[in-house]
């Protein structure tokens, strides 16, 4: 559930528009058939590493032990920074892509201009910031009460998100003809005009394998988060079994749900129309005339159904998805900081625990404050655009974990030999974990490269790439400043250094 919340089931809706608009000829359900096998090696690697080294901190611990603590810290630090950048945006997604289309949709169906106007008002930066502040305080109050409370809240959100997903599928069931009739009468344009305009501007209606393969990138990115439970493996019982279920099971279930959602989009709006409207929107065409912020499926709900309960549930479900994902991210980051603090890379004060609930409250306060600052920076400056390649950074992190996993059985023979049998399995004399490490590296390198391609984000912006490098440099600097300070005392390098066992 945690991993599925981290991935955000209903995020599939905007991802579908982006994928369909950017990769001409993509078959969205088909992308899942490629994305799922790609995710499995990473899922298994994270599950096995977490079974072999079931400690809080995830790749920080694994990479530190297999390669070098500085590399482990660097990779984990960047992941945490990227996630803080994403958290900053979550309240905006809730309001602008969840609540606003819900109000607008109900307003359109009921002919209530007041609701439509309200949808615009609540999308303002001030509203977003107010929701953000309330959200971050609520998160702090939830997380400070410990894992149990956090998961209770997560379950509550999960149920609402699942209800929203089901409502979307139900809304799509009447099919394309019903949609076409409603769209043609309500939108001021017609389905045929949208498709014809898009085709005249270069849109292709036929699916191709190449486009589907490239379009997989968005489906794969939507899967980001399926291995996040590995970052608090130290807090999970029966970690070997639990992680396989959570990480591998999470990826499989989520992929199946995404496949169903993609099919529902095609069923409810037609593949050609959805591709065409997405294309017109993504290319900034003047032929995109809908009175909607974007042709994301949740915005298109009033053309699919007149049932306000379904529109409400989809809007509420989507509104919950970013909030649940943000909660999952903050939970993960506090665990990372806790692990760094334990090893004294950062001040030990950051691993102080709340006496009553045993939660790392100082780390939590720090993350919540940083999230509030990041949100303000995102709302009022362009600075966070420098983290546009955050997803690239994230997959650079999994690539580093892939290398760590590949060499783990050889560099840390002691831990490998004492690991549970499943993690020690060999295929043709080669440790399975090594094979998974190599595959993880290959998949991650492919995804990281694909996210830099013009098709994904437009022209490559070298400043954005520099932002990743700078973050790595900052992490390395923190590590070595801390390390050199401690050289006069107990050297930091001793934290993970193996004592001769013979």
């Amino acid at each position: 559930m945690y991993n599925i919340n981290a991935m955000g089931i209903l995020f599939v809706l905007p991802y579908a528009t982006w994928g369909a608009g950017l990769y001409l000829g993509v078959d969205l359900p088909g992308t899942m058939l490629i994305a799922l096998p790609m995710s499995i090696p990473i899922a298994l690697l994270y599950a096995y590493l977490s079974a072999a080294m079931p400690r809080t901190g995830g790749d920080y611990v694994w990479v530190s032990r297999s390669l070098h603590p500085a590399i482990g810290f660097m990779s984990n630090f960047l992941l945490s920074i990227v996630l803080i950048g994403w958290i900053a945006v979550e309240p905006a997604w809730t309001l602008q892509w969840g609540i606003a289309p819900m109000l607008q949709g109900i307003g359109m169906v009921n002919g209530d201009p007041g609701l439509i106007a309200l949808a615009t008002q609540i999308s303002s930066p001030t509203s977003v910031q107010i929701l953000g502040l309330i959200y971050f305080v609520a998160i702090a109050l939830t997380l400070v009460r410990g894992t149990k409370w956090t998961f209770r809240v997560q379950w509550g959100m999960f149920i609402l998100i699942v209800l929203g997903t089901l409502a979307f599928i139900v809304a799509a069931l009447p099919g394309f003809s019903a949609f076409q009739q409603r769209f043609d009468s309500m939108s001021g344009t017609t389905v045929s005009d949208v498709i014809n305009n898009a085709v005249s501007e270069g849109f292709v209606t036929e699916s191709t394998i190449q486009a589907t393969f490239l379009g997989t990138i968005f489906s794969f990115l939507n899967l980001t988060g399926y291995f996040f439970s590995a970052y608090f493996a130290g807090e999970i019982k029966n970690v070997q079994k639990s992680q396989i279920i959570a990480v591998v099971g999470g990826a499989v279930i989520f992929s199946a749900v995404m496949w169903v959602c993609y099919q529902a989009i095609y069923l409810g709006m037609g593949k050609e129309f959805f591709g065409a409207i997405s294309y017109l929107y993504m290319t900034g065409s003047s032929n995109y005339t809908l009175p909607l912020l974007a042709p994301f499926p949740m915005f298109l709900m009033p053309y699919m159904t007149s049932n306000t309960v379904l529109i409400f549930l989809v809007g509420l479900g989507f509104a919950m998805a970013p909030l649940a994902a943000g909660l999952a991210y903050i939970f993960l980051i506090t665990r990372n900081i806790f692990a760094w603090s334990f090893d004294r890379v950062v001040p030990t004060k950051l691993s102080s625990l709340d006496r009553r609930y045993n939660s790392p409250y100082v780390a939590l306060i720090l993350v919540v404050v940083l999230s509030m600052v990041a949100q303000a920076v995102w709302l009022y400056t362009n600075f966070l655009s420098y983290m546009a390649y955050g997803i690239t950074a994230l997959f650079l992190g999994t690539a580093i974990t892939g290398i760590a996993g590949a060499v783990f059985p050889y560099r840390r023979k002691d831990i490998f030999e004492a690991a549970p049998a499943a993690a020690r399995r060999k295929v043709g004399g080669i440790p399975l974990i090594t094979i998974l490490g190599v595959l993880t590296f290959a998949v991650s390198a492919f995804v990281a490269t694909a996210t830099l391609l013009p098709a994904y984000i437009g022209t490559i912006n070298y400043n954005y790439i520099a932002a990743i490098i700078v973050t790595y440099v900052v992490a390395i600097a923190i590590y070595f400043v801390s390390s050199s300070y401690r050289k006069k005392k107990i050297p930091l390098e001793l934290t993970f250094k193996e004592i001769p066992p013979e």
Binding site: T147, G234, F342, L494, P500, E502
Partner: protein, 317 residues
């Protein structure tokens, strides 16, 4: 008062790999004193049965087969490294042992004592002439038979129930007894008895400012004593997201003594998953946790300069 570097580890639970690392850690970390704070013995005997030239055993729910003497030696080492005691037997003897808990218990005691004797010899051999002090005390899981074996060692000191001076300067009082656990281990005692033991030990101390409390049981509700809540079948109670419900299980008496006397440092173990450090008033309390099943020696490396702790680091060596 001179500077001291201490390595404190705990809960190796029979892992020979961890014990050898502990002995080697003195030179590795440049430490003046090594302290192993309890729960040093294993929990299981692993019978190895010879069958038609092969050696078969059940280890961690899977069958292991050694097909040569070399493979057998490797298998025995793996069993010892995990913290169990390998035992060569026949199918018929195995049946007898399975049907007689008393005989099995005697065998376990014998193998456990042999293992502790071997460990003491290893420590004597490797540490003699190094000037590295070595203290090994029993914990609540350890049977009483091992006390005399440790005490007989010509190098290792058993500080249980005593006051010793580390580096000739810092007093240390030690007890491996803990409050009651659901498993009713050999040194589990009621809280009031533990309080009496702690009081008797503190009465020996001359200078609390430089004193070390080496109490296997962590102070109650300190964050160093969070263990999974168990149901009536001793199964962890899981909360949402498969996370076990954690509750404090440490000793109120230990906490009260630390708060009252404010020693320099409290060294604790017992709860493997509660690795951490916490300040109770002026006292730094540490629980290095345990990862013995993975062959990793978790430790706390502490630099002491007279009345103050100069630095510390939790290690995973």
């Amino acid at each position: 008062m001179s500077k001291l570097r201490i390595l404190f580890v705990t809960d190796v639970h029979g892992s020979e790999r961890c014990f050898i690392k502990f002995v080697n850690a003195g030179k590795f970390y440049n430490a003046n004193a090594l302290i192993l704070g309890g729960d040093i013995t294993g929990k299981l005997v692993v019978p190895i049965v010879e069958k038609e030239g092969t050696y078969v055993c059940e280890l961690m729910s899977s069958q292991q087969v050694a097909r040569s003497k070399e493979e057998l030696a490797k298998l025995e080492k793996l069993i010892r490294d995990i913290g169990y005691y390998p035992y060569h037997t026949s199918s018929s003897e195995l049946e007898t042992l399975r049907s007689s808990p008393e005989k099995l218990d005697q065998l376990f005691s014998k193998l456990m004592c042999e293992s502790v004797e071997k460990w003491m010899s290893i420590a004597e051999e490797r540490l003699r002439g190094t000037n590295i002090e070595c203290y090994v005390s029993p914990g609540n899981d350890d049977r009483f038979e091992i006390d005399s074996i440790i005490s007989k060692s010509s190098y290792v000191k058993n500080p249980e129930g005593q006051l010793v001076k580390i580096g000739g300067s810092h007093e240390m009082i030690t007890t491996g007894f803990t409050n009651m656990t659901p498993w009713k281990c050999p040194r589990d005692i009621p809280e009031d008895e533990l309080a009496a033991k702690v009081e008797a030990l503190t009465s020996l101390v001359e200078n609390f400012e430089t004193c070390i409390f080496n109490f296997h049981c962590p102070p109650c509700n300190s964050g160093l004593d969070m263990a999974p809540k168990l149901d009536e079948n001793l199964t962890p109670v899981l909360g949402p997201g498969a996370a076990p419900t954690m509750i404090p299980v440490g000793s109120p008496s230990v906490r009260a003594a630390i708060e009252k006397f404010q020693p320099l440092m409290g060294l604790h173990g017992h709860i493997h998953e509660s690795r951490g450090t916490v300040k109770l008033g002026k006292t730094l309390c540490l629980n290095p946790g345990s990862e013995y099943t993975e062959g990793i020696l978790r430790g706390a490396l502490i630099d002491i300069d007279g009345k103050k702790i100069d630095d510390f680091l939790l290690t995973a060596g």
